[in-house]
């Protein structure tokens, strides 16, 4: 009798007892929104690309939401300047590179997609977006940078030499010999600083609202 009752209860309880929130706004950034489904998808794709199990804790969601907010601010800027979207062949090329680096073959790749709950279309859209984002940051924040001799010398003395000496006791290359590497590093740092300043300024100007129900 008890057994029957448990089985019957089990059958009944297989159906949900009440309605569930399937999706909602997590953050609004001006007239753009980031939904709970956006955050989950971003976490799954990040986990997939990093080869790690995605974590959906409230902290992880909040952290990913922060990154998506920054991307939303950049998307707004991109749309204003009508920045072009990458071609399908650029996306395919990047996907092929990911497959080659992370997976032993197509079967492993497809199994990972299923395991992480991502479709190939979703993955490609994310890759396309990331390519567009990187190109835009490079275009918007790098060209205006001018490196003076003083910048180069400062970086060589304060960053490059100490790093070299920490790694090896071999005599360090001269400033001229390491110019290309230093320029690349300094440019990257300056671009990053410029991007951070722009993001800080944009965050202050934009109306960003976090809906805490999405992070419970």
């Amino acid at each position: 009798m008890l057994r029957t009752a448990v089985i019957a209860a089990a059958m009944a309880l297989m159906q949900p007892l009440h309605a569930e929130i399937v999706d909602r706004i997590a953050v609004s950034v001006g007239d753009q929104i980031i939904t709970l489904s956006d955050i989950r998808l971003a976490l799954r794709v990040a986990g997939f690309l990093d080869g790690e199990q995605p974590v959906f804790t409230p902290q992880a969601r909040r952290q990913m939401a922060g990154r998506l907010v920054e991307q939303a601010l950049l998307r707004q800027e991109m749309n204003l300047s009508r920045f072009p979207t990458p071609d399908a062949k650029d996306v395919d090329s990047m996907l092929a590179s990911v497959k080659q680096q992370r997976f032993s073959g197509d079967a492993a790749y497809r199994a990972a997609l299923v395991r992480d709950g991502i479709t190939e279309a979703e993955l490609k859209r994310q890759l396309q977006w990331q390519i567009r984002l990187l190109r835009f940051v490079d275009f918007r924040f790098t060209p205006a940078l001018l490196l003076s001799s003083k910048d180069l010398r400062e970086y060589y003395d304060k960053e490059f030499l100490p790093r070299w000496k920490a790694k090896t006791s071999a005599p360090p290359p001269t400033l001229e010999q390491s110019r290309a590497e230093i320029e690349r590093d300094v440019n990257a740092k300056k671009a990053n600083d410029a991007l951070e300043r722009w993001l800080k300024f944009s965050r202050e100007r934009a109306r960003i609202v976090y809906h805490e129900e999405a992070f419970q």
């Binding site: 448990v6 089990a10 309605a19």
Partner: protein, 994 residues
């Protein structure tokens, strides 16, 4: 049949846990993917709710998709109606039920600030809130608004003010009305300001310049206001500029408030900068002209751009004087701007080489076939030398460039895409040195035409209307101007018909045929918006229907901004609202229908006005017992006026008012009842008036008038209007003041009842009714008094006026012709007060007030007439600065006995003849004030009338004419005293003559 093992309790527990875990994950979105959506409902909102967008991706009967759920959330969010959107799903047997949970946005309705009437005014405080009606409401905006209000209050000396917000929620419209109540507290006063920096002046002089100290014998400082503080800084700056320190910098530093004495210490940072010495070498240019040419004075700054502009202006000025080869260069010492700012003196020298003086004797145009030379010359600044003006001609390189550009634009606007304009300058025109000739050669090239005009993107419903707006048409000359006009007209059409995001693109391609272009207009209409509802707020006394009749938008209408502006104008025209704001609620939200807001601020309903003034002239002053001066004497008549008006009577926009005026020659009271926009018609107004008038402004008599009238005004167009009037009046003349032949006194002193029906046509095309410089003004008034209207006198009166104004350079030529005629239709003579009287500052200036026309043959006092003809001519020219103008005038005209007596004679036949044309010339001064020009005219009458008058007392007048004058009344030498009106008259008044 399968046998199941007996489960232990841990097994039961595990199973149950497993089942609950399964249940928790059963709600994940993936479980619903592909299932049929059974229903989609929006969870109820307080008050009304916006309908779901028609293009929402979630629809009953379609398969569930997580992507569509996300898209639906986004679609709802962009409507702007919701700050939060969540979708919940409930699995049912055969599908899934969807519920949309939202948090509605609220929008700002009306914003008002009460508590401070002046400095700052409520409008300034409302602007400071930065809360615009129709935009999104949130609590942070209220806090920010309070901060901003407090900042404005502090700038105006209110450091102890408190601001309390009050919110009124209107859920039906998702609206919040916000009212801020201000308790201002006492206003702070200035204390002695502190000056820092390189002052180069005595601080006491700077303090005096601020005007922050109280005047004359009052001690202490004035109350703080923002305007006073800013004006103080401006005055300090002006003080430095008077000292040629054009680079002086004066800025506001710290503002230190002291609560106990409630005072404010202002710190002013001043840097006097160097003295700027501006000189010109090589040409004589007056200081005043130099100030006009070199913009460092106007801009109150010195930089290279301004100095270079000064250089160009000096060259152009010299060229306009005939020095066509003039060159100029400037030099500044010290050159370095940083060094200049620190130096004691900055010297700027313009070195000018004028070259030889020439005359522009010829401007030739050739090569033109499509346009005649006259059409081209009309567009040119270049002018050959003339006799009266431009003695050396008008020429400069800039003018020549401008003329070439204007000619080129003319040709391009008519399809000549390849037109060229080339100029050559001959410095020795006709072989004579110093005589310059300019030849403008036009190469027209072929005229291009529109081959094919393609209009795409226009929906069928709009096609006919849009096509009718196009100026570019197939087969007509091609024109950039027409294309630009087409774009403007088409976009305005779309904006007025509910398409706020319409776009218009033009593509022009050469056609296969030679000299033809194909034009393609591509229109992107965008989504259409409609009016959801019109929300009117702010009404306390005004009837809602009165407002609703004047709003030309209704639910379902396309959202038209021009209709909103038109409605706003009609509401302002009622004259009962101080402010009419209109806005769209949720303007950036993507939704097809919108609330349109009208926020109204009712004006004060009671308005009082008062004034004092005076008239100084050779005034009438009727009712005089002095019969020896029929022409009157120089008089001074002080006057006072008082009025009260009640607006928005009964809340229907009507008004009632009382205006009174009292002076030594006039007592008047008028009660009016006005109904503007009568019966909702924008162009019709109704006026009732009752008047009491006791005037002595005609020396012949004093009269009393009681009058009632009703007038209907109709505006036919912007310039033309008609008035229809029914008037009843009773006029009585005080027989004891009638200075005429005693035999006529009983007749003319009878009170007369007049019933008049009249109509007036007014055409006003002047640029400025108070001080016209251009345009035309015509009026025709036709009045009929008849027994059928219970009038005791029957006559037909016409009075017509035509005035025209022409600008000539900086001067104005103004002229006016007035004609009037009264035709007696009855047996009784026209009553004295109904006759034409003329003369004075606003009519024939050769006469004193009301002194023109026929005169009594015994006393010599004016009797008025039944015909009037007057022509006035004025040449109005600048005299001193921008506010004082001079006038040369000629007035000719008179009042005549009747129409048949009109005459252009300039001499009287005899002393009993007054039907001739009197001429007067004169000079006047006009000083411009905000309420019109103050006017002083001095006229010289060339042919004033001579007449016989009476030199005696009233008793002598009354009794000496009879057979047996009473004893003691001396009658000799009192009659037939020859007199003449003075040649000189002066008039002082307000407003132009005409």
């Amino acid at each position: 049949m399968w046998k199941v093992a007996i489960w232990s309790w841990p097994t039961y527990l595990a199973l149950l846990l497993l089942l609950f875990t399964a249940c928790r994950s059963a709600g994940a979105a993936g479980d619903y993917e592909g299932k049929k959506i059974l229903s989609v409902e929006l969870a109820p909102q307080p008050g009304g709710q916006a309908p779901l967008p028609a293009d929402l991706p979630l629809k009953a009967g379609t398969p569930y998709s997580a992507a569509n759920v996300r898209a639906a959330i986004e679609r709802l969010f962009v409507t702007g109606r919701f700050s939060d959107v969540a979708i919940d799903a409930e699995s049912r047997d055969d599908g899934v039920a969807i519920r949309i949970l939202t948090t509605a946005n609220l929008f700002i309705g009306r914003v008002a600030v009460f508590g401070v009437a002046h400095a700052p005014n409520p409008g300034q405080l409302e602007n400071a809130t930065k809360m615009d009606p129709g935009t999104l409401y949130d609590r942070e905006k209220v806090s920010a608004a309070i901060t901003n209000i407090e900042a404005v209050l502090r700038e105006n000396g209110f450091y102890l003010a408190t601001v309390t917000p009050e919110l009124e929620h209107i859920p039906a419209y998702a609206e919040v009305n916000v009212t801020f109540y201000v308790q201002p507290g006492p206003r702070a006063r200035y204390s002695t300001p502190v000056f820092t920096g390189n002052l180069q002046k005595d601080p006491q002089k700077l303090i005096n310049a601020t005007h922050w100290k109280r005047w004359l014998f009052f001690r202490g400082f004035k109350p703080v206001t923002q305007a006073r503080t800013q004006n103080g800084l401006v005055r300090i700056r002006n003080l430095y500029h008077k000292d040629q320190r054009l680079m002086a910098r004066v800025t506001l530093g710290k503002m230190q408030y002291h609560p106990q004495p409630n005072t404010l210490t202002v710190t002013v940072d001043a840097d006097a900068g160097p003295k700027v010495d501006l000189q010109v070498e090589g040409a004589q240019i007056s200081r005043g002209k130099l100030r006009d040419l070199v913009p460092v004075y106007e801009e109150q700054s010195v930089d290279n751009d301004l100095l270079y502009e000064g250089e160009r202006n000096i060259v152009q000025y010299l060229q306009s004087q005939g020095y066509f080869d003039a060159r100029a260069d400037y030099e500044r010492k010290p050159e370095d701007p940083a060094a200049a700012a620190k130096a004691a003196r900055l010297e700027i020298t313009y070195t000018v080489d004028r070259g030889e003086r020439s005359r522009l004797v010829a401007v030739n145009i050739d090569g033109n076939r499509y346009f005649d030379t006259r059409t081209i010359r009309e567009r040119m600044f270049l002018l050959p030398a003339g006799f009266l003006s431009y003695r050396n001609g008008r020429f400069s390189e800039q003018y020549l460039d401008r003329d070439k550009e204007a000619i080129l634009n003319l040709y391009r606007a008519n399809g000549f895409r390849d037109a060229k304009v080339i100029s050559t300058i001959d410095p020795d025109y006709g072989g004579k040195p110093g005589r310059v000739g300019v030849t403008v050669r036009i190469e027209e090239g072929p005229q291009w035409f529109v081959g094919n005009l393609d209009l795409s993107g226009v929906s069928p419903g709009n096609r006919a209307a849009v096509a009718a707006l196009l100026r570019s048409t197939e087969g007509q000359p091609y024109s950039d101007l027409n294309m630009a006009t087409d774009q403007e007209n088409v976009l305005n059409y779309y904006y007025d018909n509910g398409y706020p995001s319409a776009q218009f693109e033009t593509t022009v391609l050469n056609a296969a045929e030679p000299h033809q272009v194909n034009i393609r207009y591509t229109v992107k209409e965008g989504s259409r918006q409609f009016v959801r509802q019109v929300i009117v707020g702010g009404l306390r006394y005004t009837d809602r229907d009165l407002v609703a009749e004047r709003i030309s938008l209704a639910p379902g209408d396309p959202l038209s901004r021009s209709a909103m502006v038109d409605s706003q104008r009609r509401l302002y025209d009622l004259g009962i609202f101080a402010k009419v704001s209109t806005a769209i609620q949720n303007p950036d939200g993507v939704e097809s229908s919108k609330y349109v807001l009208f926020q109204l601020e009712e004006a004060r309903r009671w308005v009082f006005n008062y004034g004092i003034g005076a008239e100084i002239a050779r005034i009438g002053g009727g009712g005089t017992t002095d019969l020896t001066q029929p022409a009157g004497g120089t008089g001074f008549s002080p006057r006072g006026s008082f009025g009260v008006t009640r607006y928005n009577l009964f809340g229907i926009g009507h008004s009632v008012g009382l205006q009174t005026q009292i002076s030594t020659i006039l007592k008047r009271g008028v009660i009016t009842y006005q109904a503007p926009q009568f019966e909702g018609n924008n162009n019709v107004n109704l006026l009732f008036s009752a008047l009491f008038d006791d005037s002595k402004n005609v020396r012949t008599f004093s009269s009393r008038r009681e009058e009632g009238s009703v007038q209907l005004g109709q505006r036919l167009s912007k310039a033309n209007s008609l008035q229809y009037r029914l008037t009843y009046r009773r006029v009585s003349v005080d027989k004891n003041t009638l200075n005429i032949t005693p035999q006529l006194i009983p007749l003319l002193s009878q009170p007369v009842r007049i019933g008049l029906v009249s109509t007036t046509f007014i055409q006003d095309r002047r640029d400025d009714p108070i001080d016209s410089t251009h345009g035309i003004y015509n009026t025709v008034d036709l009045s009929l008094a008849n027994r059928a209207l219970a009038s005791q006198s029957s006559f037909l009166r016409i009075l017509a006026k035509n005035s025209t104004y022409y600008r000539v350079g900086g001067a104005v030529i103004a002229r006016s012709l007035t004609f009037g005629s009264i035709n007696n239709l009855g047996h009784r003579d026209i009553p004295l007060p109904e006759r034409f009287f003329s003369g004075g500052g606003s009519s024939q200036r050769g006469f004193a007030d009301n002194q023109a026309g026929p005169r009594d043959l015994v006393t010599g006092f004016p009797l008025g007439g039944k015909a009037l003809l007057l022509h006035q001519f004025e040449y109005r020219f600048p005299l001193i600065g921008g506010n004082t103008r001079g006038v040369l005038f000629h007035d000719m005209g008179n009042v005549f006995t009747d129409l048949g007596s009109l005459s252009m004679r300039v001499r009287q036949k005899d002393l009993s003849d007054f039907d001739y044309m009197e001429h007067a010339v004169g000079f006047g001064i006009r000083y411009r004030t905000p309420i019109g020009p103050v006017r002083l005219d001095l006229a010289y009458s060339i042919n004033p009338p001579s007449f016989v008058g009476f030199k005696g007392t009233r008793d002598q007048l009354l009794f000496c004419g009879g057979p047996n004058p009473p004893a003691g009344v001396e009658c000799s030498g009192v009659y037939n005293v020859r007199q003449q009106l003075s040649h000189f008259q002066f008039h002082f008044s307000l407003g132009q003559t005409f």
